[in-house]
Protein backbone atom coordinates (compact mmCIF):
# COMPACT_ATOMS: atom_id res chain seq x y z
CA UNK A 1 0.00 0.00 0.00
CA UNK A 2 1.61 3.27 -1.14
CA UNK A 3 0.96 6.76 0.17
CA UNK A 4 -0.43 7.84 -3.18
CA UNK A 5 -3.22 5.31 -2.93
CA UNK A 6 -4.43 6.81 0.34
CA UNK A 7 -4.27 10.48 -0.77
CA UNK A 8 -7.73 11.98 -1.33
CA UNK A 9 -8.69 12.96 -4.85
CA UNK A 10 -9.44 16.53 -3.69
CA UNK A 11 -6.01 18.14 -4.38
CA UNK A 12 -5.97 16.99 -7.99
CA UNK A 13 -9.60 18.00 -8.53
CA UNK A 14 -8.88 21.39 -6.95
CA UNK A 15 -6.10 22.06 -9.46
CA UNK A 16 -8.31 21.01 -12.31
CA UNK A 17 -11.09 23.38 -11.19
CA UNK A 18 -8.79 26.37 -10.74
CA UNK A 19 -7.61 25.93 -14.33
CA UNK A 20 -11.04 25.09 -15.68
CA UNK A 21 -12.90 28.08 -14.27
CA UNK A 22 -10.79 30.82 -15.94
CA UNK A 23 -10.99 28.97 -19.26
CA UNK A 24 -14.77 28.60 -18.85
CA UNK A 25 -15.08 32.29 -17.96
CA UNK A 26 -13.16 33.34 -21.09
CA UNK A 27 -15.22 30.98 -23.22
CA UNK A 28 -18.51 32.29 -21.78
CA UNK A 29 -17.44 35.90 -22.31
CA UNK A 30 -16.42 35.08 -25.88
CA UNK A 31 -19.84 33.56 -26.45
CA UNK A 32 -21.54 36.74 -25.20
CA UNK A 33 -19.21 38.68 -27.49
CA UNK A 34 -20.29 36.63 -30.49
CA UNK A 35 -23.95 37.24 -29.62
CA UNK A 36 -23.23 40.98 -29.45
CA UNK A 37 -21.47 40.85 -32.82
CA UNK A 38 -24.53 39.19 -34.30
CA UNK A 39 -26.66 41.85 -32.65
CA UNK A 40 -24.69 44.62 -34.33
CA UNK A 41 -25.47 43.07 -37.69
CA UNK A 42 -21.90 42.26 -38.68
CA UNK A 43 -21.41 38.78 -40.06
CA UNK A 44 -19.92 36.55 -37.39
CA UNK A 45 -17.53 34.74 -39.71
CA UNK A 46 -16.15 38.03 -41.00
CA UNK A 47 -15.67 39.34 -37.48
CA UNK A 48 -14.04 36.15 -36.19
CA UNK A 49 -11.81 36.01 -39.25
CA UNK A 50 -10.75 39.62 -38.69
CA UNK A 51 -10.12 38.87 -35.02
CA UNK A 52 -7.98 35.83 -35.82
CA UNK A 53 -6.11 37.80 -38.46
CA UNK A 54 -5.40 40.58 -35.99
CA UNK A 55 -4.11 38.20 -33.35
CA UNK A 56 -2.18 35.59 -35.32
CA UNK A 57 -2.51 36.56 -38.96
CA UNK A 58 0.83 38.22 -39.56
CA UNK A 59 4.13 38.02 -37.65
CA UNK A 60 3.82 41.78 -37.14
CA UNK A 61 0.52 41.28 -35.30
CA UNK A 62 1.97 38.55 -33.09
CA UNK A 63 4.99 40.65 -32.22
CA UNK A 64 2.88 43.72 -31.46
CA UNK A 65 0.59 41.64 -29.23
CA UNK A 66 3.53 40.17 -27.32
CA UNK A 67 5.08 43.64 -26.85
CA UNK A 68 1.77 44.81 -25.43
CA UNK A 69 1.48 41.75 -23.18
CA UNK A 70 4.95 42.48 -21.79
CA UNK A 71 3.75 45.88 -20.55
CA UNK A 72 0.64 44.37 -18.99
CA UNK A 73 2.69 41.59 -17.42
CA UNK A 74 5.14 43.94 -15.71
CA UNK A 75 2.34 46.00 -14.18
CA UNK A 76 0.52 42.84 -13.18
CA UNK A 77 3.60 41.29 -11.56
CA UNK A 78 4.07 44.47 -9.55
CA UNK A 79 0.44 44.25 -8.48
CA UNK A 80 0.81 40.62 -7.42
CA UNK A 81 3.90 41.41 -5.36
CA UNK A 82 2.20 44.25 -3.52
CA UNK A 83 -0.91 42.10 -3.13
CA UNK A 84 1.15 39.52 -1.24
CA UNK A 85 1.42 42.16 1.47
CA UNK A 86 -2.33 42.81 1.16
CA UNK A 87 -1.65 46.11 -0.61
CA UNK A 88 -3.76 46.94 -3.62
CA UNK A 89 -1.81 49.04 -6.12
CA UNK A 90 -4.25 50.49 -8.64
CA UNK A 91 -1.84 53.22 -9.75
CA UNK A 92 -0.18 51.26 -12.56
CA UNK A 93 -1.26 53.85 -15.11
CA UNK A 94 0.46 56.65 -13.19
CA UNK A 95 3.60 54.61 -12.62
CA UNK A 96 3.81 53.97 -16.36
CA UNK A 97 3.36 57.71 -16.91
CA UNK A 98 6.18 58.83 -14.59
CA UNK A 99 8.37 56.07 -16.01
CA UNK A 100 7.70 57.41 -19.48
CA UNK A 101 8.52 60.97 -18.44
CA UNK A 102 11.78 59.90 -16.81
CA UNK A 103 12.83 57.68 -19.71
CA UNK A 104 12.12 60.40 -22.28
CA UNK A 105 13.85 63.11 -20.28
CA UNK A 106 16.96 61.00 -19.70
CA UNK A 107 17.07 59.69 -23.27
CA UNK A 108 16.74 63.14 -24.80
CA UNK A 109 18.56 65.51 -22.50
CA UNK A 110 21.13 63.75 -20.36
CA UNK A 111 23.65 62.94 -23.04
CA UNK A 112 23.50 59.18 -22.68
CA UNK A 113 23.01 58.71 -26.40
CA UNK A 114 26.73 58.49 -27.06
CA UNK A 115 27.73 56.06 -24.35
CA UNK A 116 28.97 52.59 -25.29
CA UNK A 117 28.04 49.09 -24.19
CA UNK A 118 24.27 49.41 -24.47
CA UNK A 119 24.16 52.04 -21.72
CA UNK A 120 21.96 54.38 -23.82
CA UNK A 121 19.25 51.74 -23.53
CA UNK A 122 19.80 50.74 -19.92
CA UNK A 123 20.13 54.16 -18.28
CA UNK A 124 16.73 55.55 -19.36
CA UNK A 125 15.15 52.26 -18.23
CA UNK A 126 16.84 52.57 -14.84
CA UNK A 127 15.69 56.19 -14.57
CA UNK A 128 12.13 55.12 -15.36
CA UNK A 129 12.30 52.31 -12.79
CA UNK A 130 13.55 54.75 -10.16
CA UNK A 131 10.80 57.24 -11.00
CA UNK A 132 8.16 54.53 -10.73
CA UNK A 133 9.63 53.31 -7.44
CA UNK A 134 9.48 56.85 -6.08
CA UNK A 135 5.86 57.20 -7.19
CA UNK A 136 4.92 53.93 -5.52
CA UNK A 137 6.87 54.80 -2.39
CA UNK A 138 4.85 58.00 -1.95
CA UNK A 139 1.74 55.89 -1.53
CA UNK A 140 3.64 53.57 0.81
CA UNK A 141 4.84 56.41 3.00
CA UNK A 142 1.32 57.86 3.13
CA UNK A 143 0.00 54.47 4.23
CA UNK A 144 2.61 54.04 6.94
CA UNK A 145 2.66 57.57 8.32
CA UNK A 146 -0.97 58.57 7.87
CA UNK A 147 -2.83 55.31 7.40
CA UNK A 148 -4.08 56.37 3.96
CA UNK A 149 -5.84 53.58 2.08
CA UNK A 150 -3.42 52.74 -0.73
CA UNK A 151 -6.24 52.13 -3.20
CA UNK A 152 -7.15 55.78 -2.98
CA UNK A 153 -3.61 57.17 -2.82
CA UNK A 154 -2.27 55.15 -5.75
CA UNK A 155 -5.36 55.93 -7.83
CA UNK A 156 -5.15 59.66 -7.20
CA UNK A 157 -1.37 59.66 -7.71
CA UNK A 158 -1.99 58.09 -11.10
CA UNK A 159 -4.26 61.00 -12.04
CA UNK A 160 -1.52 63.40 -10.97
CA UNK A 161 1.03 61.52 -13.07
CA UNK A 162 -1.19 61.43 -16.16
CA UNK A 163 -1.69 65.19 -15.99
CA UNK A 164 2.06 65.64 -15.38
CA UNK A 165 2.61 63.98 -18.76
CA UNK A 166 0.15 66.41 -20.31
CA UNK A 167 1.90 69.36 -18.64
CA UNK A 168 5.39 68.25 -19.58
CA UNK A 169 4.59 68.12 -23.30
CA UNK A 170 2.85 71.49 -23.35
CA UNK A 171 5.84 73.60 -22.43
CA UNK A 172 9.08 73.91 -24.35
CA UNK A 173 10.85 74.53 -21.06
CA UNK A 174 9.90 70.96 -20.15
CA UNK A 175 9.75 68.23 -22.76
CA UNK A 176 7.89 69.73 -25.70
CA UNK A 177 9.61 69.73 -29.04
CA UNK A 178 10.57 73.20 -30.36
CA UNK A 179 7.64 74.71 -32.22
CA UNK A 180 8.76 75.23 -35.78
CA UNK A 181 5.30 76.23 -36.93
CA UNK A 182 1.77 76.40 -35.55
CA UNK A 183 1.11 72.79 -36.52
CA UNK A 184 3.79 71.30 -34.27
CA UNK A 185 2.07 68.76 -32.08
CA UNK A 186 2.47 68.89 -28.30
CA UNK A 187 4.85 66.01 -27.94
CA UNK A 188 8.50 65.49 -27.19
CA UNK A 189 11.30 65.06 -29.68
CA UNK A 190 11.92 61.56 -30.88
CA UNK A 191 14.43 59.75 -28.68
CA UNK A 192 17.81 59.07 -30.26
CA UNK A 193 18.17 55.82 -32.12
CA UNK A 194 20.80 54.50 -29.74
CA UNK A 195 18.24 54.62 -26.90
CA UNK A 196 15.52 52.76 -28.79
CA UNK A 197 15.10 49.14 -27.82
CA UNK A 198 16.76 46.69 -30.21
CA UNK A 199 14.66 43.99 -31.80
CA UNK A 200 15.25 40.33 -31.06
CA UNK A 201 15.48 39.53 -34.74
CA UNK A 202 16.67 42.31 -37.00
CA UNK A 203 13.47 41.96 -38.98
CA UNK A 204 11.12 44.95 -38.91
CA UNK A 205 8.20 42.82 -40.00
CA UNK A 206 8.49 40.97 -36.68
CA UNK A 207 9.22 43.84 -34.27
CA UNK A 208 9.58 41.88 -31.04
CA UNK A 209 11.89 43.88 -28.84
CA UNK A 210 14.05 42.91 -25.88
CA UNK A 211 11.20 43.72 -23.54
CA UNK A 212 10.14 40.08 -23.72
CA UNK A 213 13.32 38.53 -22.28
CA UNK A 214 13.47 41.33 -19.69
CA UNK A 215 9.93 40.57 -18.59
CA UNK A 216 10.56 36.81 -18.47
CA UNK A 217 13.65 37.29 -16.30
CA UNK A 218 11.78 39.63 -13.98
CA UNK A 219 8.84 37.24 -13.76
CA UNK A 220 11.09 34.33 -12.76
CA UNK A 221 12.96 36.54 -10.31
CA UNK A 222 9.80 37.81 -8.64
CA UNK A 223 8.31 34.33 -8.47
CA UNK A 224 11.44 33.11 -6.69
CA UNK A 225 11.46 36.11 -4.35
CA UNK A 226 7.81 35.66 -3.47
CA UNK A 227 7.98 31.94 -2.82
CA UNK A 228 11.51 31.15 -1.71
CA UNK A 229 13.05 34.12 0.04
CA UNK A 230 12.60 35.65 3.46
CA UNK A 231 11.49 38.90 1.86
CA UNK A 232 8.58 37.09 0.26
CA UNK A 233 7.74 35.55 3.59
CA UNK A 234 7.85 38.96 5.26
CA UNK A 235 5.49 40.31 2.60
CA UNK A 236 3.05 37.50 3.24
CA UNK A 237 3.31 37.91 7.03
CA UNK A 238 2.63 41.63 6.81
CA UNK A 239 -0.28 40.94 4.50
CA UNK A 240 -1.90 38.30 6.67
CA UNK A 241 -1.51 39.93 10.07
CA UNK A 242 0.44 43.19 10.51
CA UNK A 243 0.27 43.07 14.29
CA UNK A 244 1.63 39.54 14.52
CA UNK A 245 4.32 40.44 11.99
CA UNK A 246 5.39 43.39 14.13
CA UNK A 247 5.55 41.17 17.20
CA UNK A 248 7.69 38.74 15.23
CA UNK A 249 10.13 41.56 14.53
CA UNK A 250 9.25 42.19 10.88
CA UNK A 251 9.52 45.94 10.12
CA UNK A 252 5.97 46.71 8.96
CA UNK A 253 6.62 50.22 7.67
CA UNK A 254 9.69 49.36 5.63
CA UNK A 255 8.06 46.26 4.15
CA UNK A 256 4.96 48.18 3.05
CA UNK A 257 7.00 50.97 1.50
CA UNK A 258 9.29 48.45 -0.20
CA UNK A 259 6.36 46.47 -1.60
CA UNK A 260 4.67 49.54 -3.10
CA UNK A 261 8.01 50.89 -4.33
CA UNK A 262 8.78 47.65 -6.16
CA UNK A 263 5.32 47.57 -7.69
CA UNK A 264 5.85 51.17 -8.81
CA UNK A 265 9.30 50.37 -10.14
CA UNK A 266 7.92 47.61 -12.36
CA UNK A 267 5.25 50.01 -13.59
CA UNK A 268 7.91 52.60 -14.38
CA UNK A 269 9.90 50.00 -16.29
CA UNK A 270 6.78 49.16 -18.29
CA UNK A 271 6.48 52.85 -19.18
CA UNK A 272 10.09 52.92 -20.36
CA UNK A 273 9.44 49.86 -22.53
CA UNK A 274 6.46 51.60 -24.08
CA UNK A 275 8.44 54.74 -24.91
CA UNK A 276 11.72 53.14 -25.93
CA UNK A 277 10.18 50.10 -27.56
CA UNK A 278 7.21 51.33 -29.56
CA UNK A 279 6.37 54.98 -29.39
CA UNK A 280 9.82 56.64 -29.36
CA UNK A 281 8.41 59.92 -28.11
CA UNK A 282 6.33 61.23 -25.23
CA UNK A 283 2.84 62.51 -25.87
CA UNK A 284 -0.28 63.08 -23.83
CA UNK A 285 -2.12 59.87 -23.07
CA UNK A 286 0.65 57.57 -24.25
CA UNK A 287 -0.19 55.07 -21.55
CA UNK A 288 -3.66 54.68 -23.10
CA UNK A 289 -5.12 52.51 -20.36
CA UNK A 290 -2.32 49.89 -20.37
CA UNK A 291 -1.88 50.41 -16.65
CA UNK A 292 -5.46 49.44 -15.95
CA UNK A 293 -5.24 46.41 -18.24
CA UNK A 294 -2.11 45.31 -16.41
CA UNK A 295 -3.93 45.85 -13.14
CA UNK A 296 -6.78 43.63 -14.31
CA UNK A 297 -4.25 40.97 -15.37
CA UNK A 298 -2.77 41.12 -11.89
CA UNK A 299 -6.21 40.89 -10.29
CA UNK A 300 -7.19 37.89 -12.37
CA UNK A 301 -3.97 36.06 -11.55
CA UNK A 302 -5.04 35.66 -7.93
CA UNK A 303 -1.51 35.79 -6.60
CA UNK A 304 0.45 33.70 -9.09
CA UNK A 305 3.06 35.13 -11.46
CA UNK A 306 2.26 32.48 -14.06
CA UNK A 307 -1.37 33.61 -13.94
CA UNK A 308 -0.25 37.19 -14.63
CA UNK A 309 1.62 36.06 -17.72
CA UNK A 310 -1.35 34.07 -18.98
CA UNK A 311 -3.79 36.94 -18.37
CA UNK A 312 -1.41 39.48 -19.95
CA UNK A 313 -1.04 37.36 -23.07
CA UNK A 314 -4.83 37.02 -23.23
CA UNK A 315 -5.41 40.77 -22.97
CA UNK A 316 -2.58 41.64 -25.33
CA UNK A 317 -3.92 39.40 -28.07
CA UNK A 318 -7.49 40.43 -27.30
CA UNK A 319 -6.58 44.07 -27.87
CA UNK A 320 -4.85 43.34 -31.17
CA UNK A 321 -7.76 41.28 -32.38
CA UNK A 322 -10.18 44.01 -31.35
CA UNK A 323 -8.28 46.69 -33.27
CA UNK A 324 -8.27 44.56 -36.39
CA UNK A 325 -11.95 43.68 -35.96
CA UNK A 326 -12.75 47.38 -36.01
CA UNK A 327 -10.58 48.13 -39.02
CA UNK A 328 -11.67 45.21 -41.16
CA UNK A 329 -15.10 44.11 -39.95
CA UNK A 330 -16.41 47.33 -38.47
CA UNK A 331 -17.03 45.92 -35.00
CA UNK A 332 -16.36 48.64 -32.39
CA UNK A 333 -13.38 48.00 -30.11
CA UNK A 334 -15.77 48.64 -27.25
CA UNK A 335 -16.84 45.02 -27.71
CA UNK A 336 -13.41 43.90 -26.52
CA UNK A 337 -13.90 46.02 -23.41
CA UNK A 338 -17.25 44.35 -22.79
CA UNK A 339 -15.62 40.92 -23.09
CA UNK A 340 -12.81 41.99 -20.75
CA UNK A 341 -15.27 43.33 -18.18
CA UNK A 342 -17.31 40.11 -18.33
CA UNK A 343 -14.21 37.98 -17.84
CA UNK A 344 -13.21 40.04 -14.80
CA UNK A 345 -16.55 39.89 -13.04
CA UNK A 346 -17.10 36.20 -13.82
CA UNK A 347 -13.69 35.31 -12.45
CA UNK A 348 -14.14 37.56 -9.43
CA UNK A 349 -17.50 35.96 -8.71
CA UNK A 350 -16.11 32.46 -9.11
CA UNK A 351 -13.00 33.04 -7.02
CA UNK A 352 -14.79 32.87 -3.71
CA UNK A 353 -16.30 29.55 -4.65
CA UNK A 354 -12.88 28.34 -5.83
CA UNK A 355 -11.23 29.43 -2.58
CA UNK A 356 -13.90 27.66 -0.59
CA UNK A 357 -13.28 24.45 -2.49
CA UNK A 358 -9.56 24.79 -1.95
CA UNK A 359 -10.02 25.25 1.77
CA UNK A 360 -12.06 22.11 2.17
Amino acid sequence: MTVEATLPAAPRARQRWSLLVPVAAVAAAALVGICLIAFTGVSITAAVAAFADGTFGTPYAIAASINRSVVFALVGIGFVLANRANLTNVGGEGQIAVGGIAATAVALYSGVANLPLGLPIIIPMLAATAAGAFWGAIAGILKVKAGTNEVISTLLLSFIAIWMVYWSVQSEALLRRPMTNSATLPESLEIPESTQLPLLTDDYSFPLHIGLPIAIVIAIFVAIVLNRTTFGLKLRAVGLNPVAALRAGIPYGRTVIAALAIAGALGGLAGALMIQGEQYLLKDGFSSGYGFDGLVAGLLARGSVAGVIAASLLFGFLRSGGINMEMVAGVPTALVMVIQGLIVITLAGASFWLDRRAAR
Binding site: V338, Q340, A348
Partner: protein
Protein backbone atom coordinates in the same frame (compact mmCIF):
# COMPACT_ATOMS: atom_id res chain seq x y z
CA UNK B 1 -9.78 88.72 -12.72
CA UNK B 2 -12.91 90.80 -12.90
CA UNK B 3 -15.82 90.20 -10.58
CA UNK B 4 -17.98 88.91 -13.44
CA UNK B 5 -15.40 86.36 -14.40
CA UNK B 6 -15.09 85.34 -10.78
CA UNK B 7 -18.86 84.96 -10.50
CA UNK B 8 -18.95 82.79 -13.63
CA UNK B 9 -16.09 80.73 -12.20
CA UNK B 10 -17.89 80.13 -8.91
CA UNK B 11 -21.16 79.42 -10.67
CA UNK B 12 -19.68 76.85 -13.00
CA UNK B 13 -17.78 75.23 -10.12
CA UNK B 14 -21.03 74.69 -8.29
CA UNK B 15 -22.69 73.42 -11.45
CA UNK B 16 -19.90 70.96 -12.14
CA UNK B 17 -19.82 69.84 -8.52
CA UNK B 18 -23.44 68.72 -8.58
CA UNK B 19 -22.94 65.34 -10.32
CA UNK B 20 -19.92 64.66 -8.13
CA UNK B 21 -21.97 65.51 -5.05
CA UNK B 22 -24.81 63.22 -6.04
CA UNK B 23 -22.44 60.35 -6.81
CA UNK B 24 -20.55 61.01 -3.60
CA UNK B 25 -23.72 60.87 -1.53
CA UNK B 26 -24.54 57.51 -3.08
CA UNK B 27 -21.04 56.28 -2.34
CA UNK B 28 -21.37 57.55 1.25
CA UNK B 29 -24.44 55.37 1.75
CA UNK B 30 -22.71 52.26 0.46
CA UNK B 31 -19.51 52.96 2.41
CA UNK B 32 -21.56 53.42 5.57
CA UNK B 33 -22.97 49.97 4.89
CA UNK B 34 -19.41 48.67 4.60
CA UNK B 35 -19.37 47.92 0.88
CA UNK B 36 -16.53 49.42 -1.16
CA UNK B 37 -18.16 50.52 -4.40
CA UNK B 38 -15.46 51.06 -7.04
CA UNK B 39 -17.96 50.78 -9.89
CA UNK B 40 -19.32 54.29 -9.33
CA UNK B 41 -17.82 55.43 -12.63
CA UNK B 42 -19.58 52.64 -14.52
CA UNK B 43 -22.87 53.53 -12.85
CA UNK B 44 -22.47 57.22 -13.72
CA UNK B 45 -21.73 56.28 -17.32
CA UNK B 46 -24.81 54.07 -17.47
CA UNK B 47 -26.98 56.79 -15.97
CA UNK B 48 -25.65 59.42 -18.36
CA UNK B 49 -26.13 57.19 -21.38
CA UNK B 50 -29.60 56.03 -20.33
CA UNK B 51 -30.66 59.58 -19.53
CA UNK B 52 -29.45 60.89 -22.86
CA UNK B 53 -31.03 58.08 -24.86
CA UNK B 54 -34.25 58.28 -22.83
CA UNK B 55 -34.56 62.01 -23.32
CA UNK B 56 -33.78 61.68 -27.02
CA UNK B 57 -36.26 58.87 -27.51
CA UNK B 58 -39.16 60.37 -25.60
CA UNK B 59 -38.42 64.04 -26.20
CA UNK B 60 -39.00 64.77 -22.50
CA UNK B 61 -35.94 65.42 -20.31
CA UNK B 62 -37.73 64.50 -17.08
CA UNK B 63 -38.66 61.09 -18.42
CA UNK B 64 -35.05 60.76 -19.50
CA UNK B 65 -34.01 61.48 -15.91
CA UNK B 66 -36.34 58.80 -14.58
CA UNK B 67 -35.07 56.32 -17.15
CA UNK B 68 -31.52 57.13 -16.10
CA UNK B 69 -32.25 56.37 -12.47
CA UNK B 70 -34.08 53.15 -13.32
CA UNK B 71 -31.43 51.96 -15.79
CA UNK B 72 -28.64 51.96 -13.22
CA UNK B 73 -30.54 49.59 -10.93
CA UNK B 74 -29.49 46.40 -12.82
CA UNK B 75 -25.84 47.49 -12.74
CA UNK B 76 -26.04 48.14 -9.03
CA UNK B 77 -27.83 44.82 -8.57
CA UNK B 78 -24.96 43.01 -10.31
CA UNK B 79 -22.41 44.79 -8.12
CA UNK B 80 -24.43 43.96 -5.01
CA UNK B 81 -24.85 40.31 -5.99
CA UNK B 82 -21.12 39.95 -6.65
CA UNK B 83 -19.98 41.84 -3.59
CA UNK B 84 -22.42 40.57 -1.02
CA UNK B 85 -23.82 37.21 -2.12
CA UNK B 86 -20.76 35.83 -3.90
CA UNK B 87 -18.41 37.73 -1.59
CA UNK B 88 -16.03 38.50 -4.42
CA UNK B 89 -13.17 40.98 -4.06
CA UNK B 90 -15.01 44.30 -4.17
CA UNK B 91 -12.23 46.21 -5.88
CA UNK B 92 -12.02 43.63 -8.67
CA UNK B 93 -15.74 43.58 -9.32
CA UNK B 94 -15.91 47.37 -9.20
CA UNK B 95 -13.18 47.79 -11.78
CA UNK B 96 -14.65 44.98 -13.86
CA UNK B 97 -18.05 46.65 -13.96
CA UNK B 98 -16.37 49.96 -14.89
CA UNK B 99 -14.71 48.32 -17.90
CA UNK B 100 -17.90 46.46 -18.79
CA UNK B 101 -20.13 49.55 -18.69
CA UNK B 102 -17.60 51.68 -20.57
CA UNK B 103 -17.58 49.10 -23.34
CA UNK B 104 -21.31 48.49 -23.24
CA UNK B 105 -22.30 52.17 -23.40
CA UNK B 106 -19.82 52.86 -26.22
CA UNK B 107 -21.13 49.85 -28.13
CA UNK B 108 -24.75 50.84 -27.57
CA UNK B 109 -23.99 54.44 -28.61
CA UNK B 110 -22.39 53.25 -31.83
CA UNK B 111 -25.35 51.01 -32.49
CA UNK B 112 -28.06 53.60 -31.88
CA UNK B 113 -26.37 56.72 -33.17
CA UNK B 114 -23.64 55.29 -35.35
CA UNK B 115 -25.21 56.23 -38.64
CA UNK B 116 -26.12 59.69 -37.40
CA UNK B 117 -23.06 60.52 -35.33
CA UNK B 118 -21.55 63.82 -36.31
Amino acid sequence: MTWELFAVFIGSSIRLATPLLLAGIGELVSERAGVLNMSLEGMMLTGAFAGAVGAWATGNPLIGLVIAVVAVAPVAAVQAFLSVTLRANQIVTGIGINILMLGATTLAYREIFGSRSR
